[in-house]
Subunit: 247 residues, 2 copies
DNA sequence: CGACCAATTTGGTCAGACCAATATGGTCAG
DNA sequence: CTGACCATATTGGTCTGACCAAATTGGTCG
């Protein structure tokens, strides 16, 4: 599996060490020369690594030394790596994710309905129908249709910021959430709300649609948390030193 | 003003050229050697530049050439630079920003109220009071109190994702929006909704609070757009080639 | 006209060097 | 003994020039 470049490897290692909390925020990282010695490579490679980590928002590089930043100053991109490490409780983080996704999707549907033409309303309606139908199949089908709906909505309201945030979130969680949590039990998690959504869309009622989406995501979250709570009795309280340092 | 490193300078120049659309998505950037010749520097510096741009999500670097990515694949961080360039209509983007911030804050208040102790309810109440009072002063005071409220809410619900997204958005817009748009006319933009928010908080009614926040931001957006529409009669339709390439 | 192959270009890596800004530790005055 | 101060060592910032492997490119051959 040497398909990744050396810089990528070293970046991954250092990123992991930092996110694991092996260096406290404010602390100095070993010098570039020391790092190049440790990883048996040249300083140029280390500099590229450092540049990437700097862009991730987890270190600050300045003459005199590279310093580790607190997690709160990081970029969204660290989420995927945090999940990968299991450094944050997955169910908790996934719950938070559903909250944020719900708020985003809610805004998306409200904005889209405010601008949508009749044809577009038609399109949306079809996708939501597909969504309801997908709930009788496997979860990946549901997931796919949600993405489809999301894309459709974004193409209507054309909110660049919303798109970038959604992109970022999706990129961080793809492959993380989907594979791990695919229990068959989470069937019809409130197709009731989806039906309400459907009606709201046909009425061009953005507020009602937004509300239905919020409630749908809340239901999903509740079911999911209940599920993981039972099947994962106890998980070690890893690295609360990092996830708990918000005042 | 030579306080920035050479790498920073070159990064800024190339970033600007790419975001301006001087290279179409998929197109190849000049080779690292050519770039180092053009900027009269060594290849190592260019490599660091390229690494940073790669992390920004606007280029993909691979053997054979560096390629420019479509804007939709970029990271949130590009927003600040886009604003800086004026490549996207500022009023439009700021409107989108208010939408997203509204959805975020709405979620934030709902989540916080679901967890808040009586003491924390008290704290929130005080801040919202300060917020209403600040509306009689200058805008920067309002802005400050909003940040204070946001911090307070995050410290209660402890949603890491929400925090990172909010951080990212705020970082992109600090200094961009605040200085430019500070018209005194946007006074009491719906302190009505703020009073509703206050009552909802005291009733521990998360849904009502979330709704009030949403409506408050919608009002702000409406007033702001009406304002800029009159005082900025016509702005050239710059770079629609980039902002319009979402299907 | 299309498939294939070789030469060129490109990114990936490497070694060693000098400069300017910072951090460090020791010294000296109070 | 404590604090300010200064020289030195350390650190990041920049530079040069070179070799390798993979991708691109353009020409050639079927």
């Amino acid at each position: 599996m040497a398909t990744v470049s050396k810089v990528e490897e070293i970046t991954a290692i250092l990123r992991t060490e930092i996110l694991r909390g092996q260096y406290r925020p404010g602390e100095r990282l070993p010098s570039e020369r020391d790092l190049s010695a440790r990883f048996e490579t040249n300083r140029g490679a280390i500099r590229e690594v450092v540049k990437k980590l700097e862009q991730l928002g987890i270190i600050a590089v300045a003459p005199g030394g590279v310093r580790v930043l607190p997690l709160e100053e990081a970029t969204l991109e660290v989420l995927g790596y945090l999940l990968e490490l299991g450094e944050v409780h997955r169910p908790e983080l996934i719950g938070q994710m559903l909250d944020v996704l719900g708020a985003m999707t809610s805004l998306s549907i409200r904005s889209a309905l405010a601008k949508a033409t009749d044809n577009e309303i038609e399109d949306i309606t079809l996708i939501v129908h597909a969504l309801i139908a997908a709930h009788d199949k496997d979860d990946s089908a549901v997931h796919e249709v949600w993405i489809q709906l999301s894309e459709k909505l974004i193409s209507i309201h054309r909110n660049l910021i919303l798109r970038l945030v959604a992109n970022g979130l999706r990129a961080q969680f793809i492959g993380q959430v989907q594979t791990e949590i695919e229990p068959e039990k989470i069937r019809n998690p409130g197709s009731q709300h989806l039906i309400e959504l459907l009606h709201a869309i046909q009425d061009h009622n953005g507020e009602a649609a937004a509300s239905a989406v919020i409630r749908h995501f809340q239901t999903m979250k509740r079911e999911l948390l209940a599920l993981t709570a039972t099947q994962t009795p106890s998980q070690p309280e890893l690295s609360q030193n990092r996830s708990a340092d918000y005042a």
